[in-house]
């Protein structure tokens, strides 16, 4: 009792828990409740109840409202869907000139807009793709097929791989020096020799379109948000939701609007990649010292000059970090958008995984990771590069890289020409190594996987069974056993205790949305998987982070490892786990753990590092031991930052759980995946995505509120 008086908060938390458990025990599981049937499925069953709202009929299994809330929002997905279809097919029909048939045709406005957008994106992608791989679409777009027939010289081939490889090495050299150049050359050569050139270039062309477009839109919106409070306020909730929205979920509505293919993938990628760009632009512009802005004004800048000559160049570093983020998101999306028919490595990866050909998947995954790391390092080098002064260089010094590239182009063409003489019949390997003619290690890997299975099958199986039967199943059952009302009380109570009435209301709203959607049970499963992943990840991440922090070299090494792991597109993580654990929940969870451990480790190290050096010295001079310092000084001060790490860990874990649906889970992700192939899936996919985003936002809100208070309390920022 003494202790409760001393810590009133502790008492409040205990009280909350008591209420929660009391509710759990007081409310029995209804006899008719079965998880598999869930609460609301779109099947007809005489046992279902139904209601009609906005003309949409919602059917569901009714339970005691304390146990499961009725899906009052069940009409939402149907309504979204119908609205989308209405927009696309019936809204605002207008006359549009049709180039092919040479006549006016009536088409709904939105359909026409999306089709034009689609054509534009396709054109951009084709343009770059044809520079890299050859093709005629772009030239035909400006002329005609007849013109090509008349002028056969216009059938230009793509660039030989040697030129692209050397060109990227030169660019890497210019940005990041010798080491990066060697890496660029080696990875490009690897890609070519191992026969992944064509899909790699398809992926690259996709990224070279998506990334700059995302950059332009992100920068523009960031600037607009910086200049106008109203724009910022309007953007803020969208940015927040987009940060926790699983990328899968965006695919579905985009499918309806833009159809299937690379162009749709580019548009979705932009939707996902623009928010971080906006945030970083805003961050960078805000960090420009006010006196620099005043200096610009006093120099007589008008608004445009102030933005383009003072603000943006001064915020250059943050903006380029944003570019880096954009590129990373693009790679991640390059794989995921293979679901809606984007060509390239992602598509091959998906195909190989579907056929359980781990070897092939590994090769594709490796290539994608190599390119991702290359572009990541290049963009970071660009961001950190100080501007050079060129005023007193002569023409040759200023243009040596371009000149050198010119030489490389000529050499490459000559090489390809000699190649065409040397490799008389068959393929010109100096021009392009065809997809199935390179060296392939797939067989080796597949044998390796077989060997692992043969040798360790017993152990893996035993581990698998133990994990599923003794840990995961009970945990899942516990989560599903929670009555809806008890969960609501717990979450809202936590919100109130942490952030007061405001936080409680926000959290309550988010939770209610999920509870009233038809997928509460599935959301519980998603949460259970994410919680399990987060718990293990945090345990590993905090331990590894703390240990690595003790030594400068191990600290830097670990941060680098985190950097590289973070560069891998999320999908790639599924390959090794499928290799080891096959198609089980264990695979998904291990992928979740590996993926989510990255931010946990990184934020632990960064948090510990941010403890001021003065405090270190002061503590040492007070004669503390290493452990005392760690527990009395470093942990308490680093804790807020570490909690931000927890926040990130939760987001990462949720992403991976959703992606894990590809392997086969029973949660929200599975439904998103199903929605992809459903004619009426758009509304379902979007609503599911919002549900996942809201799970993330509940934790986000609680953690952030707590961290802000804690930071204020500690006086750090």
């Amino acid at each position: 009792m003494e202790i409760l008086k001393k810590y009133p908060k502790l008492f409040q938390w205990l009280f909350l828990l008591v209420v929660f458990f009391a509710l759990c025990f007081a409310i029995d599981v209804p006899e008719t409740y079965k998880f598999i049937r869930g609460q609301a499925e779109f099947i007809k069953d005489p046992n279902q109840s139904a209601f009609v709202f906005l003309g949409k009929e919602v059917r569901y299994y009714a339970f005691d409202v304390f146990w499961r809330l009725p899906p009052l929002l069940g009409w939402l997905p149907i309504w979204i869907n119908d609205s989308l279809f209405f927009l696309m097919n019936d809204w605002m029909p207008m006359e549009f000139w049709n180039e092919d048939t040479q006549e006016y045709k009536t088409r709904p406005l939105v359909l026409q807009i999306t089709r034009n957008l689609t054509a534009f994106m396709t054109f951009l992608i084709e343009l770059i793709r044809e520079i890299l791989l050859g093709g005629l679409e772009t030239i035909v777009a400006f002329t005609s097929w007849d013109w090509i027939d008349a002028n056969p010289w216009a059938e230009l081939p793509g660039l030989p791989w040697t030129i692209v490889a050397a060109g990227s090495a030169i660019l890497a050299y210019k940005l990041g020096g010798k080491g990066l150049a060697i890496y660029a050359l080696l990875s490009m050569t690897y890609i070519s020799i191992f026969g992944q050139w064509k899909p790699s270039m398809q992926t690259l062309s996709f990224i070279l379109v998506a990334a700059p477009l995302s950059f332009i839109f992100g920068l523009g919106l960031g600037v607009a948000a910086f200049k106008s409070k109203r724009v910022e306020k309007a953007l803020y909730p969208i940015l927040l939701v987009m940060q926790t929205m699983p990328q899968y979920a965006v695919l579905v509505p985009a499918l309806v609007l833009f159809g299937v293919g690379d162009h749709a993938a580019v548009i979705i990628t932009m939707i996902v990649a623009v928010p971080p760009m906006i945030l970083l632009t805003l961050l960078g512009l805000r960090a420009v010292p006010p006196e620099v802005i005043e200096a610009g004004r006093m120099s007589g800048c008008n608004n445009w000059q102030l933005m383009s000559k003072v603000l943006i160049p001064t915020a250059r570093r943050d903006i380029l970090i944003g570019v880096n983020q954009v590129i990373m998101v693009c790679f991640s999306m390059a794989v995921i958008s293979a679901f809606i028919g984007a060509k390239g490595l992602g598509f091959n990866l998906l195909l190989a995984l579907n056929q359980l050909n781990i070897g092939l998947a590994l090769e594709a995954g490796l290539c994608i990771s190599l390119i991702a790391i290359l572009l990541d390092k290049m963009s970071l080098a660009w961001a950190n590069k100080q501007v050079d002064y060129f005023g007193n260089l002569n023409f040759f010094q200023r243009n040596k890289n371009s000149l050198f590239f010119g030489v490389v182009v000529i050499a490459g063409i000559l090489l390809a020409y000699f190649g065409s003489i040397y490799f008389k019949d068959g393929y010109n390997y100096l021009f392009e190594v065809p997809h199935n003619k390179g060296i392939s290690t797939a067989g080796f890997w597949n044998k390796g996987v077989d060997w692992i299975f043969d040798t360790f099958f017993v152990y893996i199986k035993a581990f698998n069974t133990w994990l599923i039967v003794d840990v995961l199943q009970p945990m899942r059952a516990l989560y599903l056993r929670m009555p809806a009302i008890a969960t609501l009380v717990l979450v809202v109570g936590a919100g109130y205790l942490i952030g007061g009435i405001r936080s409680a209301l926000v959290v309550c709203g988010l939770t209610l949305f999920i509870a009233l959607s038809p997928w509460w049970d599935r959301a519980l499963v998603t949460t259970y998987m994410a919680t399990f992943g987060v718990l293990v990840s945090c345990a590993i991440g905090f331990t590894v982070g703390t240990l690595c922090f003790q030594n400068k070299h191990s600290r830097n090494f670990m941060l680098n490892v985190c950097d590289i792991f973070q560069t891998f597109p999320s999908f790639v993580y599924l390959i090794p786990v499928m290799m080891l654990f096959g198609i089980t929940d264990t695979s998904v969870l291990i992928a979740v753990i590996v993926y989510a451990t990255i931010p946990a480790t990184r934020y632990t190290i960064e948090g510990l590092r941010s403890v001021p050096a003065g405090l270190h010295d002061a503590a040492t001079m007070s004669g503390v031991t290493k452990f005392q310092r760690l527990f009395k000084i470093e942990f308490p001060l680093a804790f807020p930052h570490m909690m931000l790490g927890l926040n990130q860990t939760i987001v990462f874990a949720l992403f991976m759980v959703i992606i894990g649906a590809f392997i086969g889970t029973e949660d929200l992700g599975q439904y998103i995946l199903k929605a992809l192939s459903d004619k009426n899936g758009a509304g379902i996919g979007l609503t599911l995505g919002i549900c996942v985003a809201f799970i993330g936002l509940i934790f986000d809100n609680l953690i952030r509120t707590w961290v802000d208070q804690r930071k204020k309390h500690l006086g750090i920022d």
Binding site: S299, G300, Q386
Partner: protein
């Protein structure tokens, strides 16, 4: 006398949502406390003064006294809430955006405490920046900027980036940039506050040298009273947004208008501030020795000479006419006396 270059008539700057309405209701009687209770913060409270051509007005005050806000009202980096400001007869607050930009491009230069250089441009490009903004040809602007580099003694470093320079050098760049468009009016916002004491003194001397050559109309902000005394033609002392006293350094030291000003002057070495004419007797007494001193000398420079005399010393003007006299005892009284009274 010709028109003053800067003229302020009861300028107010009040921060907060209802600032304008509250100012109207206050009817010229602004009380910081009542405003604060209503969520408004008074930055500048009823500032009226004039600065004439070639004059250096130093605005002195502690942090939060509103001196920087006053400067930003006059450069219109913030809009004053009330009052009128005239720059060479133009009503500053009525200028539209284009006219304002025009004024800044041609008439005004400003130096900042944190230097506020553009990190992505070299020294030369930074200095040429206002010229290029103005639309002057690259070659001409670079040439002009190069002259400025020489003026502030940075030749040989024109292709350095700001990050490669020391604080003193960076502020030289800031000064050169503010002078590049040859402005008539020069605003300096605590230009030397971020520098080490030794560098600061060096820069102050350098600044005086420049001003002797350029004869700009200057508003100089500082929180350092010694700096104010060293540089100013006139000093305005601000507290809580109000100008407590605006006068010559000598008058501020000798006749502090308020208790607050007196506290500042307490520790000031008078012999370094006051001129002979400030302490001399207007009458010439009969008992005058051979020594003559000019009335424009600072006491410190001639004190030793005077104190070795037993008789009263004659004071002359620039044409060597005797205009007064000074007794050695008066010197002793000036240097030590004031302080004794205060204890």
């Amino acid at each position: 006398m010709s028109e003053p270059v800067i003229k302020c008539q009861s300028v107010y700057k009040i921060f907060g949502a209802n600032a304008e309405r509250m100012l109207k209701e206050a009817n010229g009687n602004v009380d910081a406390k009542t405003f604060q209770e209503n969520g408004c913060i008074v930055g500048v409270n009823n500032a009226s003064f004039e600065v004439s051509k070639g004059e250096m007005l130093v605005v002195m005050g502690l942090s939060g006294s509103g001196k920087s806000t006053l400067l930003r009202c006059i450069s219109r980096l913030t809009d004053a809430t009330g009052g009128k400001i005239f720059i060479e007869g133009q009503d500053l607050l009525n200028l539209n955006n284009k006219e304002l930009i025009d004024l800044r491009r041609n008439k005004m230069g400003m130096v900042f405490q944190s230097f506020a250089l553009l990190p992505h441009k070299t020294v030369l490009e930074n200095i040429a920046f206002p010229l290029q903004i103005k639309g002057i040809k690259t070659e001409d602007s670079i040439n002009k900027a190069m002259d400025m580099v020489k003026l502030v003694g940075l030749d040989g470093r024109e292709n350095y980036f700001p990050r490669e320079l020391s604080g003193g050098q960076q502020q030289r760049v800031g000064i050169a940039r503010s002078l590049a468009v040859e402005p008539d009016i020069w605003f300096l916002d605590e230009p030397f506050s971020a520098l080490d004491p030794l560098i600061r003194k060096e820069m102050q001397d350098e600044f005086l040298r420049l001003q002797e050559k350029l004869q700009k109309t200057i508003m100089f902000i500082t929180h350092d009273f010694d700096e104010a005394l060293k540089l100013a033609d006139r000093i305005a002392i601000m507290k809580d947004g109000i100008i407590e006293q605006l006068d010559t350094p000598a008058n501020i030291v000798l006749k502090p208008a308020t208790e607050y000003v007196r506290k500042f002057t307490e520790e000031v070495p008078r012999e370094k501030v006051l001129l002979i004419q400030d302490v001399m007797d207007e009458k010439t007494s009969s008992d005058i020795g051979d020594l003559k001193v000019s009335k424009d000398e600072i006491i410190e420079n001639v004190a030793e000479k005077i104190l070795t005399q037993e008789k009263t010393v004659a004071v002359t003007d620039s044409k060597n006419n005797v205009v007064g006299s000074i007794n050695p005892a008066k010197i002793i009284n000036t240097v030590f006396g004031g302080r004794k009274n205060n204890n």
